[in-house]
């Protein structure tokens, strides 16, 4: 379906919570500078899969995996890979906006600062906020607390915070689920601009959102990858009956 090599590539990946297999032998390529949407009913393992892509599952007790995730042909879970470095290159935006209880400026600057990314920090903050389409709203109050922003602004701040690290991949775990339609539309517009420079993987419950923004769509159910393909094909000519039922809203 694509002749490029994937930047991230899950191969026969299974993820377990204790003995419970939440993700069952998934093989899924993530292509560079594309948006890949993962859809599926609640509890199908899509968030678990997403968090495994930058090793955020390391913080949950009792999680183990089998199979591998290749990041530029290197196993992300190899002993030689420092998970901190992996998260530097593969950023994440969470379901609920989680700004630090600090100023807007320091929210963005903290990541580049602790990782000593160098360069002009002010410029980096400005660029990140511009990329996240937040600059015009906050330019004159960078020292205000981030907690005073609206929910939609906070989520864009979290996106800016991830962008400031100049990661290669950004993982988004239902980033719009707590936002109103206007804020959602803004973030979707933003995604189109971001894919010029970044690879994006987005988990979403919103079928229209997946259809609108993504290049590829993966449909998961009960931990199994039912179908993966170009978004157009998945939504208009699904190969699997389950996919068709789900995207047309006949269940789930």
């Amino acid at each position: 379906m694509s002749d490029q090599t994937p930047i991230l590539n899950a191969k026969n990946l299974s993820i377990f919570y204790g003995d419970n297999e939440a993700v069952k032998s998934i093989s899924l390529p993530i292509f560079e500078r594309k948006i890949t949407a993962i859809i599926g009913p609640s509890g199908c393992g899509k968030s678990t899969f997403l968090r495994s892509l930058n090793r955020m599952n390391d913080f949950i007790d009792g999680v183990s995996h089998r199979g591998e995730i290749l990041y530029r042909d290197q196993d992300l879970y190899a002993d030689t890979v420092d998970p901190v470095e992996a998260r530097l290159r593969i950023g994440m935006v969470f379901q609920k906006a989680n700004p630090f209880p600090k100023s807007i400026y320091r929210n963005i600057a903290w990541g580049p600062n602790i990782n000593q990314l160098g360069g002009n920090l002010d410029l980096r903050v400005e660029n990140a906020l511009k990329q996240a389409a937040l600059w015009d709203e906050v330019a004159d109050r960078l020292d205000d607390s981030a907690l005073n922003l609206s929910g939609g602004q906070q989520q864009r701040l979290c996106i800016a915070r991830a962008l400031a690290m100049e990661p290669e991949v950004i993982l988004m775990d239902e980033p719009c689920s707590a936002l109103d339609p206007v804020s959602t539309a803004r973030i979707e517009d933003l995604l189109f601009e971001l894919k010029e420079n970044f690879t994006i993987v987005i988990v979403t419950h919103n079928m229209q959102q997946a259809a609108r923004v993504s290049d590829y769509t993966a449909f998961m159910e009960n931990g199994v990858l039912v179908e993966f393909g170009e978004t157009d094909q998945v939504f208009t000519r699904p190969k699997e009956k389950r996919t068709e039922e789900y995207v047309t809203g006949r269940f789930g």
């Binding site: 930058n54 955020m56 913080f59 007790d61 901190v84 470095e85 998260r87 530097l88 950023g91 994440m92 969470f94 609920k96 989680n98 700004p99 630090f100 209880p101 903290w110 990541g111 602790i114 990782n115 979290c158 915070r161 991830a162 690290m165």
Partner: protein, 294 residues
């Protein structure tokens, strides 16, 4: 309300009345119990204040103990208490807070950790005199520290460590995990997450716990008696190895005397002790208030 069904109408009304009565009764019961506690406390304070307020003056604060009540003061006891609490703070705060950070942020969630946590909670309930015996055996005798400020401070540290650890653990646990996740996702190490986000957010709670624990150390008498803090000290400690006395010991000593005047002196000492305690609690409230504003 607009229930038109006559069968449920009667039933609902009666039931609702009973539930309201129950609710009111519980409210009155709670406010009664609270009032009782306040009244008892007020009576106690009033009694002590009436006994001792005449004695609390500059001369009282500035004099050493004496055989003559008119000349006796609490200078050595007050200064001794400050030395004791100062060293206890230096020893117990870093140890307790670091232990709490380890247990909450680093320790694997296994049986050993659970065992340690349960036992810290148990230690918080051990009578203080037991810690006194331990301090006597280990610090005073085994390490040969004698009846010094440092031996007292080490014993007090053992006593309040569980309290500090438990309070600090609670404060650290109440920091939302979404903050930690956000920081980790930016490529932070555990230490960077703890230093930049967990500790600042937990700080008001940790400080409140620390100050309440130190307040407890100020009022403790039994462990100090066990390790042999002196009751008649006519000099000020000039270093951690010096002998010392403390406010509760001095108060205890005065109440044991037969003369009525010494009992009034004891009441005066209690007023000074309460003043120190109130100051520290006010500090805790102030820190909590400032922390919650941010």
């Amino acid at each position: 309300m607009n229930d038109t069904n006559p069968r449920t109408q009667a039933f609902t009304r009666a039931q609702l009345r009973r539930r309201r009565a129950q609710s009111k009764a519980f409210e009155y019961f709670c406010s009664g119990v609270t009032g009782l506690a306040v009244v008892v406390l007020a009576l106690l304070l009033y009694d002590i204040f009436m006994d001792g307020y005449r004695w609390v003056d500059a001369q009282f604060l500035n004099s050493f103990p004496s055989r003559f009540p008119e000349k006796a003061g609490i200078k050595s006891a007050l200064v001794g208490t400050l030395w004791l609490v100062g060293f206890t703070a230096i020893i117990a705060i870093p140890t307790g807070v670091l232990a709490a950070i380890y247990l909450e942020e680093y320790a694997p969630k296994n049986r050993l950790t659970h065992f340690i946590e349960v036992n810290i909670a148990n230690l918080a309930g051990v009578p203080s005199i037991v810690f006194g015996i331990l301090g006597l055996a280990i610090f005073v005798r085994f390490f040969g520290l004698g009846r010094s400020v440092i031996a007292g401070a080490l014993t007090m540290s053992l006593l309040i460590l569980p309290v500090i650890i438990i309070a600090a653990k609670e404060a650290i646990r109440s920091v939302p995990s979404s903050l930690r996740q956000a920081a980790f996702a930016l490529g932070a190490t555990r230490w960077q997450v703890v230093r930049a986000h967990v500790l600042p957010s937990a700080m008001p709670g940790i400080l409140t716990g620390v100050i309440l624990a130190l307040s407890r150390a100020i009022g403790e008498t039994a462990p100090l008696i066990m390790i042999g803090a002196l009751t008649f000290v006519a000099f000020l400690p000039s270093g951690p190895m010096d002998e010392f006395t403390a406010l509760p010991i001095q108060i205890f000593n005065w109440t044991a005397r037969p003369q009525e005047t010494f009992h009034e002196l004891a009441a005066g000492g209690i007023i000074v002790l309460l003043a120190v305690l109130l100051l520290m609690n006010a500090l805790a409230v102030f820190i909590r208030y400032r922390g919650s504003k941010q």
